[in-house]
Amino acid sequence: MTTLTAARSTEPSPVLVMARIEAGRLLRHPIFAVALALDAWLLVSSVMVDPEPNLQRMSETWAILTAFCLGVGGFLAMYRVTRSTDASREVVAAVPVDEQQRTLALCLVCVIPLGVAVVSGLFTLIAWEPGPITEPGFYGRLPWADVWLFNVCVLLASLGGPLLGVTLGRWWSWPMAGAVSAVLLVAWCVSTGFRTTSFVTTLHHQAAPFTLPITGASSEETFRQGGSWWWRVPYVASLCALAVIAALLHGATDHRRTLLLRTGTCVAVLAIVLLVVSTLTGPQGVLLWRA
């Protein structure tokens, strides 16, 4: 007998209700709040300071800010949000909304950093009104498509970072796991800044969740990195899908587990294929630019 059974209406779905509650928790989380504030402040001050913006400078500034603040900040925040209910593990285990539904709700919340990234990108475009690239170096000789594909990858980083935080939160209960993983993640991404001179180095460059299309120790000597951004975009998208599947796999049983494993295997194979293709295609060799 339940006195208010009628109140448990069939819509909205419990997953959406949970997503709404978790979204509120993400927005109130100190790490995410600081990351948002930092992103906004740095972006606005960059726009105000730079007198002659062009698409290259806009891309670099916005890209690095977004990847750091929303990607890494979102990763840390979602990791903490995911782990926060550990203290109530016993109570949460005895409710009808199961772990997969709760995980799905957390994954849905990760569109918030993506939405912020889209809004900040639009703001940057509108406020900065970047002019044509006049410098011969840097992005000047990159196809426009590559520049925009790079920006799409930045958006995916703002989605993938938080998703990875949910996955790590589900699988790794060590309290320092989030922070240590953030260090390793940043180290991995930064290590792709070295010149791609071979298949291995290009593969390493393309495999990273976030990387820049150009690199250079100084303004006189810059390098366009090998690999195809056309294939990199679906590769990064497949990484995001893998993160969701891996998160849902935790606690899955029976046919659900089998389905997730099969889907995950297919997506993993696709990701590997896309990675190899993105490494092999694109510009051959390295183009040296001099100012």
Binding site: I31, M176, G178, A179, V180, V183, V190, S191
Partner: protein
């Protein structure tokens, strides 16, 4: 002293300390060994970030309510816990000496910045502990890591180079001042919280 220190060292959550320290040491070892074009400030600072995560975990004390009522003073217990952190500080200074002059890096700047960062993180963790957060490690570690990553990406900040790896960049007063302040803060935070406040006596 060793006999007295052992219980306190046993109370440290070594898993939380060793994990990040191993990650940091591995990163530093890779970059020092000449991989990826030799020692680079970025990887040195990332390794430092991981070391900070390990060092602040030394002060996590879930049973603080109980140990606060024991005869062993808070200062002594904190010093004993920091015995676990001292090899990390020493190790960082040794590393700074090893990379001195390589790729233009300054050993003294690295040593000062790294030691200052580690001590500042320890001081912040102890202050939080005094304010009632029995396990300050994750909080201080996350904040320190974000701050470090922010400095890494966006320095100079207001013209100031915070993470100093070279002699000719950055303020020479910043990290010595941080060191002194951290020691002073630690001296205050390790006082017995239950001791009555000193009152000025009029003569």
């Amino acid at each position: 002293m060793a006999g007295l220190a052992v219980p306190e060292l046993r109370a440290i959550a070594w898993g939380h300390v060793i994990g990040p320290v191993v990650v940091g040491t591995t990163l530093l070892a890779f970059t020092t060994a000449g991989l990826l074009d030799g020692p680079q400030p970025t990887f040195l600072w990332l390794g430092l970030g991981a070391l900070i995560l390990g060092v602040v975990a030394c002060l996590d004390e879930p049973a603080a309510m109980v140990t606060g009522a024991c005869p062993a003073t808070r200062r002594r217990r904190t010093v004993e816990r920091l015995l676990a952190a001292s090899p990390v500080v020493v190790g960082w200074c040794v590393l700074a000496g090893l990379v001195d002059g390589v790729n233009g890096l300054s050993g003294s700047a690295l040593a000062l910045t790294g030691t200052g960062s580690l001590l500042a993180a320890i001081a912040a963790a102890d202050v939080l502990r005094r304010l009632g957060v029995d396990e300050p490690g994750p909080v201080v570690g996350s904040v320190a890591l974000l701050g470090l990553l922010g400095c890494l990406l966006f320095q100079p900040i207001g013209g100031l180079v915070v993470l100093q790896a070279y002699d000719d960049l950055g303020s020479t007063a910043l990290w010595p001042a941080v060191l002194v302040m951290s020691i002073a803060v630690l001296a205050w935070s390790t006082n017995d919280p239950a001791s009555p406040a000193r009152t000025l006596r009029r003569r």
